[in-house]
């Protein structure tokens, strides 16, 4: 029995004072500290290159008072129909940006991510682990998800997925009507992000796993009478998720991403995690230690097995799915830790040759005032740290130095001075920023981060240029490109630097631009600016440490 449950048995509850004692106890302070610490790694600057085109798309949706039928940003696939599966999210971005700038968007998305983590914690609490195990498990999970956290649209799906799993687990354990809250949630989710199919998939997986688990007499199966409402909720959720500008086709949209060979093989965040990368080491450690704990405990629910297997497979396939692994597997991990703890303690006692029944020392609580003061000081300290962490990230503007080191901020400022709109061959991860800054000017990009909209043929064409296959030159020319804007120190930039029929027309600390020599005189490009000393672009030229990342 866990210590929390034990306390509940031995000590009669006395309302507010009891809770106060509980939360000012060391374990309560630990959980409170964990709640604040969890917010630190999920609070970051905008690093997702797709953020910028989402923001611009939201502004355009509001401007046109409707979804955009076609892609307005590229000169390559402008005739492709655009399935705007994230339209509601994009509109919210635009509204938040208008109200509070980038800072408000950062704050909202980081809060949403934190709420997702809170939902995971609540789900884990349903199985009554000790607070120590709960806090440790959550800290490990938050660090495991480190490569993925940050203000990005996928965090909406992460939070909704965690909430779905919480509501389903609560229903299977306690019953009640709260499970029906999933239906309106899916109505909203399906308009936010196509990842809602993951939530539907989770429910279906749990249902099937529970049926198989009951057949195999696996432990702690849910009562069968609770599966029927879950099935009904699933059916209703599928139905309401079709209430969407894209209609029922939205259900199949996400599968297209999962089955696209080009997206899976060319886009970095779809790659498998490399365990030589320190950022995924904790994820690997969590995965392996969970496998060890399951083998050690030999006690696991059928639905837990299914969720862990599915999210493990997804996260090994693509690092971006580590967030789903954290959402679905963390409560299982904490449960397994809790199951193993008594056996580990007993083993340690045996090693120390301590008696099996340890002496229980009466715990002497410090005075309440002392505990409250300690609690207040701790929370104030942690809160101060968090605010000091958050505020600089909220203060950044789209043209700040931080972003100028990641995105072609200075090159965009230069190109904005061109008298005529340009067709820009760009780096995949920079199409979003260029679309955000230059589409009002009429400029078009070769490619940006909506890979499904771009389509596999364009992705492969882009890859041929990026990797400088023999057809690179003909692909650029055949597409009608006016100017090539690319990161310095990349193979393409280094080859173009030696090509006699391409002329370098611009370079800063991040980007370099080339124009076909025979078109140089007709483009009327603006002169290369002489950045004022102390300006962002002057600093960027000095500060950019390592340009040349590809497919970010």
């Amino acid at each position: 029995m866990s210590s929390v449950a034990a306390e509940a048995v031995h000590e009669p509850r006395s309302g507010f004072r009891e809770r106060l004692d509980s939360w000012t106890a060391p374990s309560g302070l630990f959980i409170a500290a964990v709640l604040v610490i969890m917010a630190l790694p999920v609070t970051r600057t905008i690093q997702d290159p797709d953020f910028w085109w989402h923001l611009r798309a939201g502004q355009l949706i509001i401007q046109h008072a409707g979804l955009l039928g076609n892609d307005p940003f590229t000169y390559t696939v402008a005739n492709h129909h655009w399935t705007m599966h994230e339209w509601l999210n994009e509109v919210l971005f635009a509204v938040e940006f208008a109200v509070g700038g980038l800072g408000l968007i950062v704050l909202v998305l980081c809060t949403v991510t934190w709420l997702g983590l809170l939902a995971i914690m609540q789900k884990a609490r349903l199985r009554n682990p000790t607070r120590g195990v709960l806090g440790m498990g959550m800290l490990i999970a938050v660090i495991a998800g480190f490569p993925i956290w940050g203000p990005r649209v996928q965090m909406i799906t992460f939070a909704f997925a965690a909430l779905t799993l919480l509501l389903v687990e609560r229903h299977l354990v306690k019953g009640g009507k709260a499970i029906w809250a999933l239906v309106p949630m899916f109505l909203v989710w399906s308009n936010f992000h196509s990842g809602f199919v993951i939530g539907l998939g989770f429910i279906a997986i749990i249902l099937v796993a529970e049926l198989i688990g009951a057949w195999l007499h696996m432990p702690d199966s849910a009562p069968r009478e609770r599966l029927r409402p879950l099935l009904l909720v699933l059916i209703a959720s599928v139905a309401v998720s079709m209430i969407n500008p894209n209609g029922p086709t939205i259900l199949l949209y996400a599968l297209g991403t999962q089955t696209s060979g080009a997206q899976q093989s060319l886009i970095e965040e779809w790659f498998s995690p490399s365990f030589h990368d320190w950022e995924v080491l904790v994820y690997g450690a969590m995965l392996l230690s969970m496998a060890m704990l399951v083998v050690f405990n030999r006690h696991i629910r059928a639905r837990d097995v299914a969720l862990v297997l599915v999210t493990t497979a997804l996260s090994l396939q693509s690092a971006r799915h580590i967030a789903l692994f954290v959402a679905a597997s963390t409560p299982v991990y904490i449960d397994q830790l809790a199951l193993a703890t008594p056996r580990i303690r007993a083993a340690l006692r045996r090693l120390r040759r301590a008696p099996a029944t340890a002496r229980t020392r009466a715990r002497v609580q410090p005075p309440l005032l002392f505990r409250l003061t300690a609690c207040a000081l701790l929370m104030a300290g942690l809160g101060g740290v968090y605010v000091a962490w958050l505020v600089p990230k909220m203060q950044l503007q789209p043209y700040s130095l931080t972003y100028a080191q990641e995105f072609p901020v200075c090159a965009a400022q230069w190109l904005a001075g061109a008298p005529e709109p340009l067709k820009i061959f760009n780096q995949y991860g920079e199409g979003g920023y260029l679309s955000y800054t230059l589409s009002p000017h009429g400029d078009k990009v070769f490619i940006f981060g909506d890979a499904a909209l771009m389509g596999d043929p364009l992705l492969y064409s882009y890859a041929n240029v990026e990797t400088v296959t023999p057809s690179w030159d003909s692909i650029i020319r055949a597409s009608g490109t006016d100017i090539v804007l690319y990161d310095i120190k990349t193979p393409l930039a280094d080859v173009m630097d030696h090509a006699a029929d391409w002329t370098k027309v611009y370079q800063d600390g991040l980007s370099v631009a080339f124009v076909s020599t025979d078109r140089l005189s007709t483009l009327h490009l603006p002169p290369v600016p002489d950045w004022a000393p102390g300006s962002v672009c002057a600093k960027q030229a000095k500060a950019t440490p390592n340009a040349g990342a590809q497919n970010r």
Binding site: L288, A291, P470, P491, D494, H498
Partner: protein, 516 residues
């Protein structure tokens, strides 16, 4: 009531039929695995090992890297000399087909030994042995073939087999281990994994109760084996050499085998499936013993860090799949299918079994024999490696330095073993980081790639037609001497001064360029 002697005879007959049935299942599975493990020279490293084997046969083990014009940072590690000499001997005796067959048979032997590495007290039925062998064969398919990794796969299987016999109380088996490690350490660096598995056995498996001091015997055999491994050209430095190969980050970056698995590829999905299957079977069948759990998870971690360890993991879990699969079936599935009373063990009909095995053998022969022919090997070689371009360069640019991609460097070393005209091949531990940086500068088109070409005096290249180097060299004004449509590769040379560089586009096949 039957007479006791009749009962004994019936029991012996039952035992004989059970053994025959197990044998039939194992033989059938081995045939399937052989079809999977006999492969052509798909591992590009085989070529420089082969070239080295020939060199050792005539001149002894070289002290320095013998093929490249780059200065190697470290002295040559001749640790694999026995593998290389054996490879050269087999190719000399029977061509590429014989090597493919021998290595395929070695892999099958590993799978069979691993499946039999089960303590006798654990009764595993033939079907489960066969299933575990086939699963292992399918997983191994991507890592075996003509490669020294097969030696380590076989070595680990032998170690597991010896450990299982030792657990049964047959402690004399352990005295074969020093000889095994003596050979193994001269063929592949994976012998270190074998030593670690033995160490785990010494520390984690209780000695056979009937043989006092058996754990001490195993520990002694381990110690002698570790010393026997020192009897190789590297001497005591062999362990430092293995460690530097494992922990050198430069190696991990430059060799795919030292990277994490890419789970978009089917073989990695098979590996993942096998891992999940083992964990599920362990969980539902009472759990593994300490040795199996710790060693299994250790090998899993090793494989997640370096995919080349996949073969060791696959072989290690073969007996786990058989034992725990059989146990899980008996505990959870069979009672639901057959009711509480177990179905009697079924034995195969001897004649039908013999006919089935003969048919499988015939089918295997039909599948394998064409693959082992000299013409099949020649066709594979001509389409996978730049055979014709190498011949062209040998005739037209004798003794001149050649650039090629690292995976083809070994083939060029095989084609041009003298004269030091090869740039680099997949032996980063010898070449060192400076040579690797020079290679990367051209291969990744770093800003100084043209400078490297100039300073290293490289004027000719043999490269795949779709390689970035082809497009880049074309931009520099290099011309295409010839194009090989079979391997889709080019021979390119720098143009003499004074000729204007062409437009940036390179057309494949290059118009006007002759076939190599």
């Amino acid at each position: 009531m039957k007479r006791p002697d009749l009962l004994l005879i019936a029991g012996a007959d039952q035992e004989r039929r059970a053994t025959a049935t197990r044998f039939a299942w194992i033989a059938a599975a081995a045939i399937v695995v052989l079809v999977l493990t006999v492969q052509p020279f798909s591992d590009a490293n085989v070529w420089w090992h082969l070239a080295l084997g020939r060199l050792i046969t005539t001149s002894g083990i070289p002290a320095h890297e013998p093929f490249s014009f780059l200065p190697a940072a470290h002295a040559w590690v001749g640790q694999q000399w026995l593998y290389e000499v054996t490879l050269a001997g087999l190719v000399g005796a029977g061509g590429a087909g014989l090597v493919s067959l021998v290595m395929g048979l070695a892999a099958v032997a590993a799978v069979v030994l691993a499946a039999l590495a089960i303590p006798r007290s654990v009764r595993v039925t033939g079907p489960w042995l066969a299933v575990s062998m086939v699963i292992t064969g399918v997983v191994l398919h991507s890592v075996v073939g003509v490669t020294s990794a097969v030696i380590s796969v076989l070595g680990v299987a032998v170690v597991l087999f010896v450990i299982s016999r030792w657990r049964d109380g047959r402690t004399s088996a352990v005295w074969g281990l020093p000889a095994l490690f003596l050979l193994w350490a001269n063929m592949d660096a994976g012998f270190a994994a074998g030593l670690l598995i033995l160490l785990a056995a010494v520390l984690l498996i209780p000695g056979a109760p009937s043989h006092a001091g058996s754990r001490r015997q195993l520990a002694l055999a381990l110690g002698i084996s570790a010393i026997a491994a020192l009897a190789n050209p590297v001497g005591p430095g062999i362990y430092a050499s293995v460690l530097s190969g494992v922990f050198d980050p430069g190696v991990a970056q430059s060799l795919a085998g030292f990277g994490s698995p890419n789970f978009h590829e089917w073989w990695a999905r098979l590996f993942e499936g096998e891992v999940l299957l083992v964990i599920v079977l362990w969980t539902v069948s009472g759990g593994p013993d300490r040795f199996s759990a710790i060693t299994g998870f250790g090998l899993l971690i090793a494989t997640l860090f370096a995919q080349e360890n996949l073969g060791l993991f696959a072989v290690f879990v073969t007996p786990q799949l058989a034992v725990h699969g059989s146990r899980a079936w008996t505990l959870h599935v069979a009672p639901r299918l057959h009711g509480p009373e177990q179905a009697a063990t079924r034995h195969l009909h001897p004649v039908a079994t013999g006919i089935a095995l003969l048919a499988m053998t015939a089918a295997m022969a039909v599948a394998l024999v064409p693959r082992l022919s000299a013409s099949a090997a020649a066709t594979y070689q001509a389409s996978t490696y730049p055979e014709a371009p190498a011949t062209y360069a040998g005739h037209n640019f004798p003794g001149q330095r050649l650039y090629t991609i690292d995976t083809w460097g070994g083939y060029l070393a095989y084609r041009f073993p003298s004269g030091r005209i090869v740039f680099l091949y997949d032996e980063p531990a010898v070449f060192g980081s400076n040579a690797l940086q020079l290679y990367d500068a051209i291969d990744l088109l770093d800003p100084n790639w043209v400078h490297v070409l100039t300073t290293e005096n490289i004027h000719h290249a043999i490269i795949p037609a779709d390689a970035r180097e082809a497009a880049a060299l074309h931009v520099l004004g290099w011309t295409v001497n010839c194009y090989d449509p079979t391997s889709r590769s080019l021979v390119m040379s720098s143009s003499p001064g004074g000729i204007a560089p062409p437009g940036s586009g390179l057309v494949i096949p290059p118009p006007g360029a002759p076939d190599c």
